[in-house]
């Protein structure tokens, strides 16, 4: 049980917590836009934390190439995840998915 094991465990725990909060938001929030708001940021951060934890573990085991590949997956997710959420929200708004009735402001009216 070294310090590196502790750091890896903390990274796993934080990543699992952010992914759990994203999933709870997807299940419980009232609206598609609220669900997108919950999922995009939380899954991005949680996936990054878990992938960096896995990369540290691979470096501890002496597999440098696998660590580089895990960091590449992390960069790919960091680029890809917000783009997908943005495209989905824009397409759903133009398709006519209604806002939640408790929404305060619509900053894209008539589009």
């Amino acid at each position: 049980m070294t310090v590196l094991d502790l750091v890896i465990g903390v990274l796993y725990l934080a990543g699992a917590f952010f992914n759990l909060s994203a999933v709870v938001g997807i299940l419980r929030l009232p609206d598609l836009y609220c669900r997108l708001h919950s999922s995009s940021k939380n899954t991005t951060l949680g996936s990054l934390l878990i992938l960096f934890g896995l990369a540290l573990r691979e470096m501890q085991l002496g597999e440098g190439a696998a660590a580089v590949k895990l960091v590449a997956i992390a960069v790919l997710l960091l680029i890809v995840n917000p783009i997908g959420s943005h495209a989905l929200a824009r397409a759903s708004y133009k398709y006519g998915v209604p806002l939640w009735q408790g929404s305060v402001v619509d900053q894209m009216p008539g589009a």
Binding site: V23, I26, L36, S47, L51, I73, G84
Partner: protein, 86 residues
């Protein structure tokens, strides 16, 4: 390796609420969102499995899953927005 097995079980339990949302999402966007998040969690699970089973080759499958999940989301969003894909 125990830590990674615990992480794998936790990620597997996170899939259950996403499947519920996939079944009863009121709109198409909810279902696409659930599929996208399932793809992201599946990528994490593949990366974890490639560590626990000591096979580095499986990481390429993780890259492919992330990329094709994103492409599917983008194609369905474009179809919802314009009514045609190309």
């Amino acid at each position: 390796m125990t830590l990674e097995l615990v992480l794998l079980v936790t990620l597997a339990f996170l899939l259950i609420p996403l499947l519920i949302r996939l079944m009863r999402g009121p709109t198409v966007g909810d279902r696409v969102l659930a599929l996208e998040v399932i793809g992201g969690i599946g990528t994490l699970m593949i990366a974890t499995i490639s560590l626990t089973s000591q096979r580095t080759v499986y990481l390429d499958l993780g890259v492919l899953l992330a990329l094709f999940s994103f492409l599917g989301t983008l194609v369905i969003a474009r179809y919802l927005e314009r009514g045609l894909i190309s």
